[in-house]
Amino acid sequence: MAAHLKKRVYEEFTKVVQQQQHEEAPAKKLRLTKPSKSAALHIDLCKATTPTDALQYLLQFARKPVEPESVEGVVRILLEHYYKETDSSVRLKIASLLGLLSKTQGFIPDCIVDDAINTLNNEKSHQVIAQLLDTLLAIGTQLPENQTIRLRLVEVACRHLTDTSFGVRNKCLQLLGCLGSVDKPVSKELESMVLKDVQKIIGDYFNDQDPRVRTAAIKAMLQLHERGMKLQQTIYSQACKLLSDDYEQVRSAAVQMVWVLSQLYPESIVPIPSSNEEIRLVDDAFGKISHMVSDGSWVVRVQAAKLLGSMHQVSAHFLEQTLDKKLMSDLRRKRTAHERAKELYSSGEFSSGRKWADDAPKEKVDTYAVNLIDSGACGAFVHGLEDEMFEVRIAAVEALCTLAQSSSSFAEKCLDFLVDMFNDEIEEVRLQSIHVLRQISNNITLREDQLDTVLAVLEDSSRDIREALHELLCYTNVSTKECIQLALVELLKNLTKYPTDRNSVWKCLKFLGARHPTLVLPLVPELLSTHPYFDTPEPDMDDPAYIAVLVLVFNAAKSCPTMSALFSDHTFRHYAYLRDSLSHLVPPLRLPGRKLVSVSDSSGMASSEESSQQFLRQSLERVYTIQHLEAQGAQELLEFTIRDLQRLGELQPELAGAAEFSATYLRCQLLLMKGLQEKLWNVAAPLYLKQNAMASAAARQILEETYKLEFLYSGLETRQVAIVHHVRLQAKALQLVLNARTSRGVEPLLSICEKFLQEVDAFQRCFVAELTHFQDSFVEKLLELMPRLLACKPLDLVKILQTTLRQSGFLHLRLPEQLHRATATIIEPTGESDNPLRFTSGLVVALDVDATLEHVQDPHNSVKVQVVYPDGQAHIIHPRPGDFRNPGPGRHRLITQVYLSHSAWTEPCQIEVRLLLAYSSSKSRTSILKPAWNESTDGLPATENSIEGTIPFSKSVKVFIMPKPTRR
């Protein structure tokens, strides 16, 4: 019997643990309005006869949230039951429930602190104690202001620190870390209480016998640090000892601890054991963490490698050691391949190469001087970069990057290693190291042999790698003209092997040329294959390789005026052609005998931008005079301004976003104005139809434009969003009025009116803060009349709306600092091909789509591909998240495959491919700004607020396809 009982207890115990874990996740969402929860619970618990039943009730209870007012009552009932309960699993559940309840928003848990502490004192089960401490922790974190309670809790935790169960000690330490007082008490009454030195108490548990407790102690200490307490330097030696702990989680935490201390006391001096020298603490810590890069556990290795990257204060001497691994062969000093390559380079002799044993070791090593496991940072990165786990390698590459950015001499040194990483077996690592090299490329100049290795990767079959490399080459400095030639040759090879890289290669050569004009100069005759005496045949202008060469030369010529003397006649002609066709790649040149088309040195650029900004401002200001104008004049003014703004946007790419935004806004105003024209409203009833059609079209268009305004532009502030919403509201009002005039009967009108009023209400709630700016506007007037509106009949409402609409003023639009329009350009397919894509109907064909997206927020969810077939069928395809790359801030690249299929056609036809920006108004910015909004609108049906839609934001590309009938 006893055995049976025991078994049962264990069974239940295991059950609890599982359920408790999965109970914790949903517990945070506490929002429900069902009264008398406490009473129900009480009845339930009284009904329960066995612990299992009670547990079931508790679990059920935990699924539903409790409103703040009734929390205390529930807690009382739970506690009452707790005292009676003999089964520890039920007590455990109650304890965990107490913790959850105390986290209820709006409930102040200080009233249950005493009870919780009391229960703790009488508890025997270690698990329940641990859970209760967890509850106390939850309570304590809910009451950050209450010093007294915190001190009490800390005291309780200290008392239980001597518990034999690791779980209890863990929780105590956690509590100490989260609640232990960080600063000295301010008020008198607190001073009387014994202030415990939390740091010392926690520090004592660094040597606990249980590794989990040791980890918890270090974590608690780190928590204290995070909360702003200055840790004492004395911990350092303790933390260093823990670095050689047997357990990986302890070591992992200790590495962090050492790092934190090294950041706190970088300059203090610590002695080196076994010698009487002393070094800076940060150097010592750096050495120790470097040591951990060859730890047995890869988790620790990753952590150590990551942290190394953020230790910028370390002295250069130590830093450079991380890349040094003194080679030795048979006790003789050996040079690394890197050193040999460098030597070859500096001696001016290139890769004589294949001498047998040219890497033969040279001088004898003094056996006493060789230190095999250096205590210092020796070779940490060499090990890290060779690690088995790619996580460690990536961490090491990243660390190298940050360190190299702060020290140019280190950047120079780590170059070889980064270049080596280009050959890693995992693409992610290769890509990362290319990116890193790009980031530090300002600090370095590539040698020829290094460039050679870099360029070898150009043949990689992965497009990402190649493009990353092109990007890298854009920023690279090279030292000799041979390097330029080498790069050009390899890039051309790349171009022939992967013709799709055309744009990327051209762009790369543009920067390469602009960066090294003097190195390109001596190469020009060779590159253009000109001859001093003979005329050479004119190269083919359509050859991408020739264009590539020209791009390089022209960009170099920009800052090297003498270069143009070397051009032959056809080069000038080609220049003119390319300047027009590829103006983004070919800069304006000052050529002899030619007038420079546009003066565009930097100062000119700046001034022109300034002036156009001024123009933008002025045009917007001019629009505001509109109120004083006649309808006719106002419309004309708007039309002119819109035209001006659109042209400005085309001319000034920097201001395109702002100009287009304001133009669209003004267009909305113009449409609204047209829709409300007095003439139309005064016409006789039979003419309703015509004017209705016109006005409702205007209203529809305004709605569409407002969605564009809201979702297509990035950088909008709440104020602009509010204005956009305001315009939308106006359009809706217009629609309502039109509806009222056409439809007979009150019934349908009623619901529309109600909906409209709800929208006004929602607007008010969302933009409360902005309402001050809406003086004299439609909304303001509407809100003034709100009480009347709510009461009156639909027809009256319509009348009021009509007058307010027409009386309301024009809202000033103030542009935000940065405003960008989301744009997309489809690079691939180009739409130039005349060869149709043939496939068997009924099967699918994959179409590669490559597009660049700019200023798109969260493209993973919003960007879709639309395919329109000639018969009007349209498909929307959602690209996978992995198809998006992020090459730079604000830029995205979509490389995906679109699957097409159709039934058979008789001849090839064009389909259209375009990109769409999906939006949903429920996810509009307003809800991000006001997270509480969602909760307060449960009265409103959600569907009405969210309008899903798409905005096409790229030019469509036509692709020939030809589905053939199946052969049987």
Binding site: T162, S294, L327, M328, W356, L372, E386, D420, N423, A456
Partner: protein, 600 residues
């Protein structure tokens, strides 16, 4: 004193013929049973007569452990088990068990069929021997018998290579076999936990070398191959069938894949095909990359590497050929070499070490004209490259492993004496532990100091734990208790319980001491003075003044009596029990110093 004895029968200050005997806790274990490549006579196998003359080994050895499938670690296995005679268990990992017989069979064929030796083990013997093999998994603790247990750790080096921990009671030995601390394209790095063995038996092939990063080597290799292929030349890579061959294959295969190269790569068939099959199977033994991607594609299912046929050698255009044997001394690799040597566009890459006298060694040392059989001379115009792809730990790697395992002493094998000397000195200097390097047949003895586990009564433990702060795990702690040695077991119990169990009654031991002091006051006042004095000095102890005219300090009794003849001389009687010895002694000295002169 208990001790562990290690005797290398082979690989002591030598490379090849690994065979090490370990006696630990009364158990005898043989680690590896290899042959020597350099000899063709009796010396090629370890000298088993060291263990026993003319009788079977079974009764002398508890088990045999094979670390990996290289012949210098397992070549003598059939000879030992079938010809000398051993019926006990032989432990090896699964891949080793799979590949080992292939290599043994190949070795047997070459010696018997080609060289015509007799008195050699037969195919049947290999089969019989393999029947005695017990396969183990990584990190699996195998109980050989009640006391002896072994556990395998990953060692890198080749597929299935393992390090073994041999444990008897609390004494343990770790044998590394061959291992590699830097991961390569198809294998991971060796790893061991902090098992703190008494002896770590480590290989030391590269005791005096610290290698350059493997990336430079790989890059060089790939660049050379790539350049030659682009020029339209042919590349010959002579390899041994297993191990490095797969490494190079993976390297080239991924490179071909990455660079979209089209030139064909061939692998001369034979052994390798069988072995590749096992490489495909034992994915768990490879490195992270292969393990993670094998679901999409098994890296050993080569896309670009095809089987070689003799006729392909004359095909025009670039190609890469892996051919055995590795030293160009015979067979297919030599055959191809002869065909291609005349063209300067071609290249031969020697990925490993070449023995003197072989064609490989000659061309590596720069010879341009080779004499072939039949008085022909062969002019070598092709480029000759040397690339070292070795899978042994270098000096740093060995040190790293020692740091990982934290052994109490190290024993070096599988290396040259001179190089070992250097490493030995380094180990002693940097870890401050003993290091041995016995020659073959020499015995290294380590005295161990194993802990004696004792069962402690739970109540006693709890009582002791409650006394102070939790015990520091790093420091020993003294406690009171009674050790009972009974029925071959040790128990630590509380004294009361021991008394009860043994049926003894408790004796009280009391010390008394008389202290004479001069004090003119009356007895009662003296007592009061003493009371207040002690109260001020011993603040942490409970001091009571009892009504019967005594002062109690904890359990120590102090009485005052005055001699009748001299009233100013007071005799203090101090009495304490044995448990309070410390305090009692202290009190006595304190009282002897006299009381403070009270002014009242």
């Amino acid at each position: 004193m208990p001790q562990i004895q290690v005797t290398p029968l082979g690989a002591g200050q030598d490379v090849g013929r690994s065979c090490i005997l370990v006696s630990i806790g009364g158990k005898n274990v043989m680690l590896d049973c290899g042959m020597h490549m350099g000899y063709n006579d009796d010396r090629r196998f370890p000298d088993f007569s060291y263990i026993t003359q003319n009788s079977r080994l079974t009764e002398f050895l508890d088990c045999v452990i094979i670390s990996h499938f290289h012949l210098d670690h397992c070549g003598a296995l059939p000879y030992m088990s079938e010809m000398v005679g051993f019926d006990g268990p032989i432990y090896m990992t699964h891949p080793t068990k799979a590949i080992c017989p292939i290599l043994l069979e190949d070795y047997r064929k070459i010696t018997v069929d080609k060289k015509g030796e007799t008195n050699f083990f037969t195919s049947q013997m290999i089969k019989d021997c393999m029947k005695k093999v017990v396969a183990v998994n990584l990190h699996q603790t195998v109980q050989v018998d009640d006391e002896l247990e072994i556990k395998a750790y990953y060692a890198g080096h080749v597929l299935g290579a393992a390090m073994f921990q041999i444990k008897v009671g609390l004494e343990s030995v770790v044998y590394t076999g061959d291992y590699n601390m830097t991961p390569d394209r198809h294998l991971g790095a060796a790893w061991i936990d902090k098992c703190r063995p008494d002896i770590l038996i480590s290989e030391s092939t590269y005791a005096t070398t610290i290698r350059d990063s493997k990336r430079c080597r790989e890059r060089d290799f790939l660049k050379k191959v790539h350049e030659t292929v682009e020029r339209g030349g042919k590349v010959l890579i002579p390899v041994f069938a297993l191990g490095r061959a797969q490494e190079l294959c993976i390297l080239l295969e991924t490179f071909w894949d990455r660079m979209n190269l089209k030139a064909p790569i061939y692998f001369s068939t034979g052994l390798t095909e069988k072995a590749n099959h096992y490489y495909k199977l034992f994915i768990t033994w490879t490195n992270q990359k292969i393990r993670k991607t094998f679901v999409q594609r098994n890296m050993f299912e080569f896309k670009h590497i095809k089987a070689f046929d003799r006729s392909y050698a004359d095909n025009p255009g670039p190609m890469v050929v892996f051919a055995t044997p590795g030293m160009l001394h015979a067979g297919q690799s030599l055959h191809i070499f002869k065909k291609w040597a005349g063209n300067e566009k071609n290249m031969v890459i020697m990925p490993g070490y070449c023995v003197q006298g072989t064609v490989g060694h000659k061309i590596l040392s720069g010879q341009k004209k080779l004499e072939m059989e039949g008085r022909q001379t062969l002019e070598v115009k092709m480029q000759v490259e040397y690339m070292s792809f070795s899978a042994h730990a270098d000096a740093k790697g060995i040190m790293q492993l020692i740091r990982m395992a934290e052994p109490r002493s190290v024993l070096l094998v599988h290396g040259e004496a001179k190089k070992m000397e250097f490493l030995k000195q380094k180990i002693e200097q940097e870890f401050n532990i003993n290091c041995f390097m016995p020659a073959n047949g020499e015995t290294a003895t380590t005295v161990t100091n194993p802990n004696v586990p004792v069962d402690i009564a739970l109540s006693l433990l709890k009582r002791e734990a409650a006394l102070g702060p939790l015990p520091d795990p790093k420091k020993p702690r003294t406690m009171h208790g009674t050790l009972i040695m009974k029925d071959n077991s040790l128990r630590l119990v509380a004294p009361e319980q021991a008394l009860k169990e043994l049926g003894l009654s408790e004796h009280q031991l009391r010390f008394t001491c008389r202290v004479q002091i001069q004090n003119p006051q009356s007895e009662q006042d003296t007592l009061n003075t003493i009371y207040s004095h002690l109260k001020s000095v011993l603040k942490e102890h409970s001091i009571q003044h009892l009504p019967d005219g005594t002062v109690m300090v904890e359990s120590i009794l102090i009485k005052v009596s005055a001699a009748a003849e001299e009233p100013s001389t007071k005799t203090l009687l101090v009495s304490w029990s044995y448990q309070d010895e410390e305090l009692g002694g202290y009190l006595c000295t304190l009282l002897r110093k006299g009381l403070p002169q009270s002014t009242g």
